[in-house]
Subunit: 309 residues, 2 copies
DNA sequence: CGCTCCCCATAAGCCCAGCTTATGCCCCCA
DNA sequence: TGGGGGCATAAGCTGGGCTTATGGGGAGCG
C-alpha cells in the first residue's frame, strides 16, 4: 500500500468543495455502512462494483484515513469510518432537505398540492415537512411559493394555492387558520459577549438603544422587530441573509436578532447564547391558513396534519 | 433563451446526488449572494467569470428555477434564489463541519493539538468546536482519536493526547476533569406513535419491557441504557449507526433511545417526539479530561474554553 | 478436495462536466 | 465618447468517474 503523498493541508479558507468528497461519494459511503458490502452498495446506487471500489478508495486518499475494512466476506467501517459516516449523514440529510425544497420550488401549474408560505417557514420548516410528506405519499407533486403574508393570502383567495403558512400576528381577512407552532425572535450573542453572562433580562430600552446585527429592512424578521420596538431598532450591520447574520453574531461582531427557528443548532452547540429580554413582545404564532370554508382536503390535509405531528 | 427540457422528475428515491448541485456550485451560489456579482464570486473562489456564469446557469437548469437576476450592473438573487441559497447554506455548513472533523481525523504525529474523545462527543460536538478553533487560530493542526472512556484515558496517560473528552458517569483515575455540558439519553417516537400523546411519564418498567430501536451492544449509548435499566433493554432492532436509529424511529418502526445531542433537529421539526420517562437515571455529564497536574495550555486551553463558551 | 459463489482489486478505454482563454455586447459614468 | 465593470458565448483541453473485462481470495458444500 504505497505511502500517501501528503499535501501541506491547504489551510487557506478557499473552496471547501475540494476537501470534501462530493455528495455521491458520501451517499455511497452511507450505503456501504448500511449494507456491509461495496458491491451491494454499488447495486443500490445503480453503479458497478469497480466504480464503488474506486470511489471509496479515492475518498480515503482524499481524507488521508482508511474508512472501510475490506475482507473477502464484505466490508465494515473502521472507527474513523464510523465517524466520517456520521458526519456524511448530516451533509446528505441537508442535501435531501435542499432537494425536497427545490423540487417544490419548480414552477408547475399541474402540481397537485400548491403551497404558499412565508419566508421563515419556507426556509426552516417546509423542507422537513415535504420530506415527511414524500415519505408517506411519494407521488405528490408540490409547488411552493414564498412571500409575505399578503402575498400568501392573495394566492389562496385567487385559488392559486391550496394551503398557506404565515407567521404574522394577525390572520389576513377571508382566511381560516390553525396555529401549528410558535416562534419567537430572540436576541443572541457569541458566548464571549458580556450579555452572555447576564442574569437579569435585558430591558427593552437597552435593546432599542444598542446597535444590532439585523436583516435588511423589508424582511419579515426586521418588520416584527421594528414593530415591537416601535420602529427604533438600530442597525450595527444590515445583512441580507439569515446565515450571514448568524455568522456575524458567531464571530462576535455584536448582538443579533433572529427567529429561534434559525438558531436551534447554534444554541445547542453553544456557538450562540440567548439573551433574555424584558418588556418586548417578540413571540408570534405560526399558522396554517386556507380560504374560509375551503377546508384542506387530500394532500393539503395530509401536509397540515404533518405540521402538527 | 430556449425553453427548458423538463424531465419526468425521476421521483424514484435513487441517488440524490444527481438532483442536487455539487458543493462547489452551492458555495458559488452563496458567494454570489454575498458579493452581488458573478465575477466577484468567481474571483473569490479562484475560478474565471465564464466558469461561474456557466455553473450558475447549469444549476438553474437543473433546478428548473431562475436563481439570480443578472443585470449589467451586477446580479441579485431572485426570491426563489434566496430560498435556495438558504438551503444551500445548510448543506455547506454541514460540509464545513465534515471538513473540520475529517482534517482532525488525519493521522499526524506532528499535530500541535491531539484530542481524544468519546464517540458521541466526536460525532456531534467536536466538529463545531474545531470550526470555532480554526476561526480563531487558523494554523492549529489538530488530530483526533475517537474511542471509549478507557481508550481516552490511556492516550492521555501515555502522553499521546493533550486533551480528552468523555461522557461516562465516572472519571477515569489519574485524570482531572471539568464538566463542559450535560447530556441525557431520551426516548423518542414518531409523532403518530401512541406514546407521543402520553401525559404522564413512562414508568421505567414499561420502558424495560418494550422492544426498542437501539444501537448495537457495545456502543456507549447502549451501555448506559443497559446499566440504567439493569441490563434489561429489549431490542426491537439493533442498528449500527445513530443515523439509522433515527431514521427507523422517524419512520415509525417503534420507540428509540438516543442521546439528546443526536436528535435536536428532529425534535425541533417535530419529526420525533420525546417521551418523558420516570425512575431511570439517563443523564450523564460530558467532561473534558487531562492528566492530573497537567493543566491544559496553549491550543488545548483554547479549545477547552471554547467548549464552555 | 475441487467446484462455485461472493467478495474485492486492477487495467484499459470512453465520455462528459467543468475549466480556461478569447471575444463580444451592454450599460453606466467621467 | 472612451473606459471599465458586468455578463454571455465559443472553442478547446483535461480529468474524474463510469464501464467492461479479468484475476485473486476465502467460505460453504458435495
Amino acid at each position: 500500500m504505497g505511502s500517501v503523498e501528503e499535501q501541506p493541508a491547504d489551510t487557506a479558507h478557499g473552496s471547501i468543495a475540494h476537501r470534501v468528497p462530493d455528495l455521491g461519494a458520501l451517499e455511497l459511503l452511507l450505503a456501504v455502512a448500511r449494507l456491509g458490502s461495496l458491491g451491494a452498495a454499488a447495486r443500490e446506487l445503480g453503479i458497478t462494483q469497480p466504480a464503488a471500489s474506486s470511489r471509496i478508495r479515492s475518498m480515503e486518499r482524499q481524507l488521508g484515513v482508511a474508512l472501510v475494512d475490506r475482507s473477502p466476506r464484505g466490508s465494515r467501517l473502521t472507527d474513523a469510518g464510523a465517524l466520517v459516516t456520521d458526519w456524511a449523514g448530516r451533509v446528505v440529510e441537508a442535501a435531501r432537505a435542499f432537494d425536497a425544497g427545490a423540487q417544490a420550488l419548480r414552477v408547475r401549474r399541474d402540481s397537485r398540492l400548491r403551497v404558499a408560505a412565508s419566508m421563515t417557514i419556507a426556509e426552516y420548516l417546509l423542507p422537513g415537512w415535504l420530506l415527511a410528506l414524500r415519505a408517506g405519499r411519494p407521488d405528490t407533486a408540490v409547488s411552493l411559493l414564498a412571500g409575505n403574508s399578503a402575498a400568501v393570502a392573495e394566492r389562496l383567495l385567487a385559488g392559486e394555492a391550496d394551503l398557506g403558512f404565515v407567521e404574522g400576528l394577525t390572520v389576513p381577512p377571508g382566511l381560516d387558520s390553525a396555529v401549528i407552532a410558535h416562534d419567537r425572535l430572540i436576541v443572541v450573542v457569541a458566548p464571549a459577549h458580556p450579555w452572555a453572562r447576564r442574569r437579569r433580562p435585558l430591558p427593552a430600552a437597552e435593546l432599542a438603544s444598542t446597535p444590532l446585527i439585523l436583516r435588511e429592512k423589508g424582511s419579515g424578521t426586521r418588520q416584527v422587530l421594528d414593530t415591537a420596538l416601535g420602529g427604533l431598532a438600530r442597525p450595527l450591520i444590515e445583512l441580507s441573509s439569515t446565515t450571514a447574520v448568524k455568522a456575524a453574531a458567531v464571530s462576535g461582531a455584536g448582538p443579533a436578532v433572529l427567529s429561534e427557528l434559525a438558531v436551534g443548532e447554534e444554541l445547542g452547540l453553544r456557538r450562540l447564547v440567548e439573551v433574555p429580554v424584558d418588556g418586548v413582545a417578540l413571540a408570534r404564532d405560526l399558522r396554517a391558513v386556507w380560504p374560509t370554508g375551503h377546508r384542506p382536503a387530500g394532500p393539503a390535509r395530509e401536509l397540515l396534519s404533518l405540521t402538527r405531528g
